[in-house]
Amino acid sequence: MAVNLLYKVGARNENPDRTGFAHLFEHLMFDGSKNVADFDHQLQLAGGECNAFTTNDYTNYYITLPKQNIETAFWLESDRMLELGITPEKLEIQKNVVIEEYNQRYLNKPYGDWFLMMRYLAYKRHPYMWPTIGKDTQEIRFASLDEVNSFFYNYYAPNNAILVVAGDVETEQVKALAEKWFGPIPRRDTHIAPLPVEPEQTVPQLLVLKRNEPLNAIYIGFHMDSRLGPRYHATDLISDILAGGESGRLKQHLVKEQKTFTDVNAYITGETDPGLFIVEGKLSDGVTLEQAEMCICNELRSLWEQPITDHELTKVKNNIEVKKTISEVNVLNKAMNLAYYEMLGDASMINTDADNYQKVSVEDIAKTARYLFRPENSSTIFYKSAQKSKQ
């Protein structure tokens, strides 16, 4: 069975001088709390496993364990909501671990920093301008124990959290356990500042990076609707039409027929506030970045100039149906999805959100594409390979 605890705090809530803090904090949550010196040890004794992730919008902790040991999860999760046991030494070590995570995930990989750059280019005011891991590794170096404590008080409050339990359990038992372990934790007087609104972009943005990567690459981001925006579902389907499965338009047209790219993809970041629609590709030899950009633009334009077929639309809707079925196979997924929809405003959206996809029409796709892929709504990054220009 699964116990999922979501805190409504993510990188978007960070102080702009302490980016990466929410994620560092996620690490600290495993470093012992008031009455539990070693979280992992206690959980492993009960046969459980846990992990967590931080997004720009929220931080999610989850535990899976045998159902007869369900109370262990309540004990552990409630204790670290009550009070943490962070020492200056633990804080220093976790800073190092997080910096190595940053290196592993972003810097020690070809093209690993493109998303950092994209966020900077596309966002001027909204805190989505930095990734969850932070702008660079230096800011969290300065994080102090006081900052840790006030972040905890303000954001890790019971009135800022959503608890979901899923599996072969009795509702009454879960309610009683929740009351027993979480009930006594006092509500806190939290102050969560409203986020700045990103002004509408009016001119195309371009960034050229000369890097020691082996191939030229292009990344284009377009501002899209928020998760609850009216065009969100059509936008998601557009990404599937372009790049869903092997038969997506971009792969068929640009890789297989025109051979301008060796690899190409499209997807949405799908964040709560207005996110980005990303198109990215690695260029074939002899193709210039300007030609590559034009090929992508032609593909995007064809979405409204020659409306998509019913066959294509049915295909991407079928795909959504399968994804939903798969997401219901496992209890942890169910728990996470319920918590996520509750954060958006209503857990019962888990039952209705799929219908929003089925309602999208051919015209909606054309209209949304035309709105989304305006040149002035785009931010483009060219990676110029230093190795290529030497050849």
């Binding site: 008031k34 009455n35 539990v36 070693d38 992992d40 040890h41 492993q44 004794l45 009960a46 046969g47 459980g48 496993e49 899976t64 045998p66 007869q68 040991n69 109370e71 262990t72 309540f74 004990w75 409630s78 204790d79 070590i93 976790q94 800073k95 190092n96 671990v97 190595e100 995570e101 290196n103 592993q104 810097l107 020690n108 070809p110 027993k180 372990w181 006594p184 990567e213 082996p214 191939l215 499965g245 092997e246 038969s247 997506g248 068929q252 890789v255 297989k256 051979k259 060796t262 690899d263 690695k282 049915t314 295909k315 959504i320 149906e321 399968v322 079925t325 798969i326 196979v329 496992n330």
Partner: protein
């Protein structure tokens, strides 16, 4: 009712003393292809996996086995690559190809209601693939590009170096170079495909909501795949490690170093395998492991360092891997050796034994939480060990193994003199 809650005392937890390992239903299709069925779940979705004896060791030429596998979807006598992709995508199905040293698989993940539409096409891929030249050219260009990008990754460089040191001249030790991509032709793939992709070289696994109807649909399609002849393969000898046991590949621009340590060891069907697996868990298999505690928790030199067994048909590999803060890899490699030596010198405490036991029982419980969770693990046990019985043995081992047993296993198998170390990065 309102008595003060004492949070210092852990709620009582229960040892998991018995997990019911489900049985798989086994049999043979009309064409004598063996099958295993893992039934369960409430969602009407199934996965159908065909596993062929068509991995890397079945070809003398590099890249042939993997290309023949990934390009099963590139065209048949009756359908183009685009038609194939469009059909599977239209029904929201996922088609996966995967190959390793020993085997090559193709699996179909789809809703039960579309199985009738998709199984005939799946069989067509296996029986009538033609590997069109134009598709091959595009795919090879893409793979060459990916290869070039991969050669800049420290993890890839260290991994290749480790395999080469451990396995030497054995096929498991080979890795491709750029030039190998230019040697692949459609003819070579067809010649490899014909004898290997047939019923005699294949086993089937079906998991999910498997009804009689599903099995009838499978019998009517996969059960008719031509039988062919079984390709036999001699086990090739492993030479003792010659030359350096430590390799450092310098990459000045790297911000971290990839550390890979490897030791050739027993196969998955060896009687000691379960205990060695448990010992590997103690060393670096979970968050509270010796390595994670030493290198991450106490020193902060890594985001993660792990040890695990990688079983193959002709060998086993004990591998330690992690991406390490620049300048500290040799020190970490030394710490790994120290931790292994400690497991040889001292039995683990009863507390640690209980911890690992409970953790592994919890993990086993999760594996058998529904057919999709267990699918991958069971599939591997079928190919490399005793099938689903493997997990009964595993359970018995977890429950009965004592600290002294693990110490004995450490002394028997932690052969530090033959353990190799590969580091790629700015060291």
């Amino acid at each position: 009712m309102n008595k003060e809650l004492n949070r210092q005392i852990a709620p009582e937890y229960h040892q998991i003393t018995k997990i019911n390992i489900p049985t798989d239903e086994c049999g043979f299709l009309a064409n004598k292809m063996p099958y295993h069925v893992l039934s369960g779940g409430s969602q009407e979705i199934v996965v159908v996996e065909l596993m062929f004896n068509a991995g890397v060791i079945h070809s003398n030429q590099l890249l042939v086995a993997s290309t023949a596998n990934t390009m099963l979807v590139s065209g048949t006598r009756h359908h183009t690559a685009q038609q194939i992709a469009d059909t599977f995508d239209f029904y929201g199905a996922e088609l996966r190809t995967d190959s390793n040293f020993d085997h090559a698989a193709i699996s179909l993940f789809c809703l039960n209601k579309y199985l009738d539409k998709l199984l005939p096409l799946l069989c067509e891929l296996i029986e009538e693939s033609v590997y069109p030249e134009t598709e091959l050219k595009t795919a090879l260009t893409d793979r060459k590009h990916k290869f070039i990008v991969n050669q800049t990754k420290t993890a890839v460089l260290a991994n290749n170096a480790m395999h080469q040191m451990v396995y030497g001249a054995h096929p498991y030790g080979r890795h491709a170079e750029l030039i190998d991509y230019d040697r692949i032709t459609s003819k070579i793939l067809q010649d490899f495909h014909a004898p290997h992709y047939c019923a005699a070289n294949c086993r089937l696994m079906v998991a999910g909501y498997v009804t009689d109807q599903v099995m009838q649909a499978i019998e009517a399609t996969i059960g008719k795949i031509k039988i062919g002849a079984k390709c036999s393969l001699n086990e090739l000898p492993f030479e003792p490690i010659a030359g350096d046991k430590t390799q450092i590949i310098r990459r000045e621009e790297a911000v971290q170093s990839s550390l890979r340590m490897g030791l050739r060891t027993i196969k998955m069907d060896h009687p000691d395998y379960h205990k060695l697996n448990m010992l590997t868990m103690v060393l670096g298999g979970y968050f509270g492991s010796r390595l994670m505690t030493n290198i991450r928790k106490e020193k902060g030199y890594t985001y993660g360092i792990y040890s695990r067994l990688q079983p193959q048909a002709q060998s086993g590999l004990l591998c330690v891997y992690g991406d390490i803060k620049s300048g500290h890899s040799l020190q970490v490699a030394n710490e790994v050796r120290k931790e292994m030596q400690k497991l040889k010198d001292e039995p683990i405490s009863d507390t640690e034994m209980a911890l690992v036991r409970n953790y592994m029982m919890g993990e086993l419980l999760q594996i058998f939480d529904g057919p999709f969770n267990s699918f991958e693990a069971v599939s591997r046990a079928v190919d490399l060990s005793s099938g689903i019985k493997y997990f009964d043995e595993e359970q018995a081992c977890i429950l009965n193994t004592q600290p002294a047993d693990l110490q004995a296993i450490a002394n028997k198998y932690f052969d530090l003199d033959n353990m190799v170390t590969a580091i790629a990065g700015n060291e």
